[in-house]
């Protein structure tokens, strides 16, 4: 919930709190709100919004709080405000299930429509929402290749070079002085970048989980952890101990 607090705080001057990196030579900014910004193309990436997750569970009989969509939208609005991007790429699992976008309450639909006004909005399809979104501005696609980068939901094992992907919700654990701190993170070795989950009610997988095996050259892997109000960059080898 710290990102929610952060989003509602004064966020005008935040350049020093984010982290600069590069993917296949393309400059990128890791923002503590959990979004990635590419300044050359004015492109903002968010991933795994998992909108309407509460409702998706309610449909199956678990009445999770109906507030996750609103909370995630607020942070998304803050991120878009901050960079005023020309293009927004939402990297899949935009909704928690297939019917999520069709059942989206009108009030949220209106906010998303307002947010997309005056920019290109690309909805990459994810495994939770493979059929694309309905009733929302922008275009759906399985993948996007743009400005020397490939944008897809699930990381591909074949072509790491210049890939921005989501799906795995990476987390990193730092242990110092006998205490563990675990946070969502951007993970990159300079070739591929994995996005943190943007959805406020999403969990995650540790970078050491076997699902991450083979995705990165570990010697060059850096985790950019989402701290309370800034990004903390820690080399993979230094995460524990």
């Amino acid at each position: 919930m710290q990102r929610l607090t952060l989003a509602s705080a004064d966020i005008q001057d935040c350049g020093s709190l984010s982290a600069r990196t590069a993917v296949a030579g393309v400059d990128a900014v890791c923002d503590p709100l959990g979004a990635l910004y590419l300044p050359q193309t004015r492109l903002l990436v968010v991933s795994d919004l998992h909108l309407e997750k509460g409702a998706a569970f309610a449909r199956r009989g678990m009445m999770l709080p109906p507030y996750d969509t609103l909370a995630t939208l607020k942070v998304l609005e803050a991120a878009v405000d901050r960079y005023d991007p020309a293009i927004v790429v939402s990297l899949g699992d935009n909704f928690h299930d297939r019917t999520g976008s069709a059942h989206l309450p009108e009030i949220f639909r209106a906010r998303l429509t307002q947010l997309a006004r005056g920019r290109d909005w690309i909805w990459i399809n994810g495994n939770h929402d493979p059929d694309g979104v309905t009733g929302l501005p922008g275009q759906s696609a399985d993948e996007l290749h743009f400005a020397g980068l490939a944008f897809r939901h699930e990381p591909s094992l074949l072509s790491p070079a210049g890939e921005i992907a989501g799906h795995l919700h990476p987390l990193a654990t730092v242990i110092r002085r006998g205490k563990a701190v675990r946070r969502a993170c951007f993970a990159t070795d300079g070739q591929r970048l994995l996005m943190p989950a943007f959805g406020l009610m999403s969990g995650g997988l540790d970078l050491r989980h076997k699902a991450m095996t083979g995705l990165f050259e570990r010697a060059r892997l850096v985790a950019h952890l989402l701290g309370r109000d800034r990004i903390y960059s820690v080399r993979f080898a230094n995460l524990i101990g």
Binding site: M63, P66, Y67, L70, K179, A180, L225, N238, L239
Partner: protein, 843 residues
């Protein structure tokens, strides 16, 4: 009325009187009294010590009644169960079946007896519904399942007796709340039933007597009371060791040669300890000196089930000379021929001690023998205080507590699964259960709303409702899947995430090391504190942590006898506050030191010389550095719960003052806080002053604010959310947790707290925390008493009195600035590297 031999012949019909005579037994007075009064329809509480024939007494009314009834002729209309017996443990129900079948078959009674537990095969359960036994032996969870079934009215219509075994342990906690609601439903289904509660000795039986009968507004009702006379008084001694009693520690290593001698001198000895880690250490120490290779075994809840069963079997067959055990061996199960109980460590709750000593001897006329072995000098004082106060005879009154809302939500859904319900009628039924007798109608409405759609202010889930109102105004489940989900997730025992511990070869982490031995389970929370290479004690071995693979914790043999991480502190007790106060009084009255061993007197004298002794109406604070941290130890003697709350509030204040606290730990006597900053210097410089730090106003806004973001509260919330049915542990067709159904309770808590802080489940969570974990009233009294009476000692090293708590260093992390400080430190290390910048940038 006296229940003597003459009344016995009236009360006991021929098969029974004959059976008693054949055995050469005399029916006991309390057995006859219970039989006579229960036979008249009275509900009763029987209080009896272990070995007093409690179980037979409980069943006599049912057995005699059923013997009178005789066999039901074939072709008769359906007959429901006659007697329901409920025990807290599956194993106990199975045990009782064995014991009960003896008289039934020896007297050739026309009575059918069966068990029904989680282990009962599906086919047998089906058959039991169609052709119920006369007596059904079962657990609280099975009762909840049975009453949530559409056939419950038929099944229970002939119910005459409900017997609650070990009632004092059944009623505590949420499990007891659920059972009390189940009983309220049974009373609806069979209005003429009587209850019989069987309990060990308790100090104040009134609450138990209330629990057993239906309550009505404005009037307290109680079951009758039958008390069996106590057996011989136990002989309890404190081990007067020839050895040096250590200042600190919990292993009692010093006393092992004497403990070993005691084991050799008796047939079978039970050694009880307070925590799993203590059990591990003690077991290891005993084997180090077991020159005669006596059969000594280890038993605690984290061990592999197979291993535990083996130990229990060997115990029952008298093949063991000693068993080192934690609370898993508690309760009245018969464990063979035990003639000595040794209790290692502080006696803590007198209730448990009494139970454990009762174990030593099932023949009431012989005194039980027990030896208390204090592990350190603090515990010597505590053992002495316990004996001085002659406190060990009676148990603490079990805390029944006010019925919790999460349990209520579960029950409401269960009742909808049974049949459509009328909201007012169900409310009347529920407030007849003693723990819920004060439940406001409005709160009940909110719970029904919660069960239907989650109870949110934002009404977007109406179309997904789990229960809906019919046109007649009754609540019914919206589809059969709801009942299926309910049955899968029923119960109040929420397991904390545990990982299997598997032995592998050192240093390896690939898939090649399958097949190593599984050693048991360990809490995930503990493992999060470990780094690869750390060593810790588990399952009697020093293990080296290799890492986590999927849901297994990989370990290797450590070639060291000195674990780095002090303990796996599983199974901590909620403690009695009584003894802590007695110890404080003893400390403040040197005239009473005479009863203590010389070593302990020396220890106290040393403390007086290097620091100070805590006085009755002062608060002693010590500060000192150790390792890379700075410590503050306070000695309020108010019990662990109050100290825990104090610790949480103090760390908040210290954090706000910029002192970067990292954590704290609380015991019955004291509280230790550790920080990155020099606390002694800070207090001396008034940043903050101790009088401000300990100001009473911390119980205002600080308490509120802390409650809202505490890690502990999140764990409490998870518990409530699972019990209330907000989060499923298991989903139909996906019993093994898949990613689709798992959802983090922490995230839900955060979302709910920021969007609907008054939600009923958050209220339930706060209630749980305030009642169980905070002890706020006690803390408030203490803060008032010590105002302007704080003594601060700045030391350059740990004091003698501080050593015990320093070994308890716990796991409660402090959120906030110190967390981010650790992140920053990790980031700084990166900067300090030769490259000095992000390696992905230097291309």
């Amino acid at each position: 009325m006296r229940y003597s031999e003459t009344t016995a012949s009236v009360l006991l019909s021929p098969p029974f009187s004959g059976w008693f005579a054949e055995k050469g037994w005399q029916p006991r007075v309390h057995q006859l009294e219970l039989l006579a009064r229960a036979g008249r329809g009275e509900s009763l509480l029987l209080i009896a010590p272990t070995g007093a024939g409690k179980t037979l007494a409980g069943f006599l009314p049912a057995l005699t009644d059923l013997a009178r009834r005789g066999k039901i002729p074939p072709g008769s209309p359906f007959t429901g169960i006659h007697t329901l017996y409920i025990s807290p443990l599956k194993a106990l129900a199975v045990d009782i079946e064995r014991n009960l079948m003896k008289p039934v078959s020896e007297m050739d009674l026309p009575i059918t007896v069966e068990t029904r537990t989680g282990d009962t095969p599906q086919a047998k359960r089906q058959r039991q519904r169609l052709a119920p036994p006369d007596i059904l032996l079962t657990t609280p969870e099975q009762v909840a399942l049975l009453i949530a079934n559409a056939e419950a009215p038929r099944f229970f219509k002939d119910l005459k007796y409900v017997i609650f075994d070990e009632l004092h342990s059944l009623v505590t906690s949420k499990r007891g709340h659920l059972l009390s609601l189940g009983l309220s439903r049974l009373r609806q289904l069979a209005p003429r039933l009587s209850t019989i509660g069987l309990s060990a000795t308790v100090a104040e039986p009134m609450e138990l007597r209330r629990w057993l009968v239906g309550q009505e507004a404005g009037e307290e009702r109680h079951a009758g009371l039958v008390i069996a006379p106590g057996g011989a008084k136990p002989v309890i001694t404190i081990l007067k060791s020839r050895e040096h009693v250590p200042w600190s520690g919990h292993s009692a290593k010093y006393a092992m040669p004497e403990v070993y001698e005691a084991i050799r001198a008796h047939r079978t000895t039970l050694l009880f300890v307070n925590t799993r880690s203590q059990a591990e250490i003690l077991f290891q120490e005993l084997w180090n000196i077991n020159e005669d290779t006596l059969p000594i075994a280890l038993h605690h809840g984290s061990l592999d089930v197979g291993q535990r069963r083996k130990v229990e079997q060997a115990m029952a067959e008298n093949r063991l000379r000693a068993v080192v055990a934690t609370s898993t061996l508690d309760l009245g199960i018969d464990w063979g021929d035990v003639d000595l109980v040794i209790h290692v460590g502080a006696p803590k709750g007198a209730s448990r001690l009494a139970q454990r000593i009762g174990r030593a001897n099932h023949r009431m006329d012989e005194p039980s023998r027990a030896i208390l072995v204090p592990a350190n000098r603090f515990e010597v004082m505590e053992c002495q205080a316990a004996l001085d106060a002659n406190y060990i005879g009676a148990q603490d009154t079990p805390p029944v507590g006010e019925g919790t809302l999460d349990v209520l939500a579960q029950h409401v859904l269960g009742m909808a699964c049974a049949a459509p319900f009328d909201e007012d009628a169900l409310y009347r039924e529920i407030v007849s259960a003693a723990p819920y007798s004060g439940l406001p109608r409005e709160k009940f409405r909110r719970i029904v709303d919660f069960v239907a759609t989650g109870g949110y202010a934002l009404k977007t889930y109406e179309r997904y409702a789990r229960i809906r109102r019919t046109t007649e105004g009754l609540w019914r489940i919206s589809n059969p899947r709801v009942a299926q989900q309910y049955r899968l997730n029923l119960g109040t025992i929420v397991e904390m995430p545990m990982l299997n511990v598997r032995m592998v070869k050192r240093g390896s982490k690939g898939a090649a090391r399958r097949g190593g031995a599984s050693l048991g389970k360990v809490e995930e929370y503990f493992l999060e504190m470990l780094a690869p290479g750390d060593t810790f004690l588990f399952s009697g071995k020093v293990l080296r942590f290799e890492g986590i693979r999927e849901n297994e914790c990989l370990v290797s043999q450590a070639f060291s006898l000195d674990p780095k991480v002090p303990s796996y502190a599983g199974g901590k007790f909620p403690l009695s506050t009584y003894l802590a106060a007695s110890v404080r009084d003893m400390l403040d009255d040197p005239a009473r030191w005479g009863a203590l061993p010389e070593q302990v007197r020396d220890w106290l004298a040393l403390q007086r010389d290097v620091s100070a002794l805590p006085r009755r109406d002062e608060l002693l604070i010590e500060t000192f550095p150790r390792g890379s941290r700075h410590y503050m130890v306070a000695y309020p003697f108010e019990g662990r719960l109050a100290h825990q709350t104090l610790g949480m509030l103090l760390t908040r204040r210290l954090e706000r003052a910029g002192r970067r606290p990292l954590g704290f730990v609380a015991t019955d006597y004291s509280l230790a806080v550790w920080a990155l900053d020099d606390l002694g210097y800070a207090f001396a410089a008034g940043r903050p002053a101790l009088s401000d730090l300990f100001d009473e106003d911390m119980l205002g806004d600080d308490l509120e604010a802390w409650l809202d973001e505490s890690f502990m509260l999140k764990r409490t919330f998870r518990n409530c959310a699972v019990i209330a049915g907000l989060i499923e542990q298991r989903h139909p067709g996906k019993e093994k947790t898949g990613r689709q159904v798992t959802v983090s309770a922490d995230l839900i808590y955060d979302v709910l707290r920021s969007h609907e802080p008054d939600h009923i489940l958050l209220e339930a969570t706060r209630n749980d925390a305030a009642a169980g974990l905070l002890d706020i009233r006690r803390l408030g009294d203490m803060l008032l008493r010590i105002k302007d009476r704080i003594t601060h000692r700045r030391l350059d090293r740990i004091s003698p009195l501080a050593v015990p708590i320093m070994l308890e260093i716990g796991k409660e992390p402090v959120a906030g600035e110190a967390q981010d400080f650790l992140l920053a430190e990790a980031a700084d290390e990166l900067l300090a590297e030769a490259i000095g910048k992000d390696p992905t940038q230097d291309r």
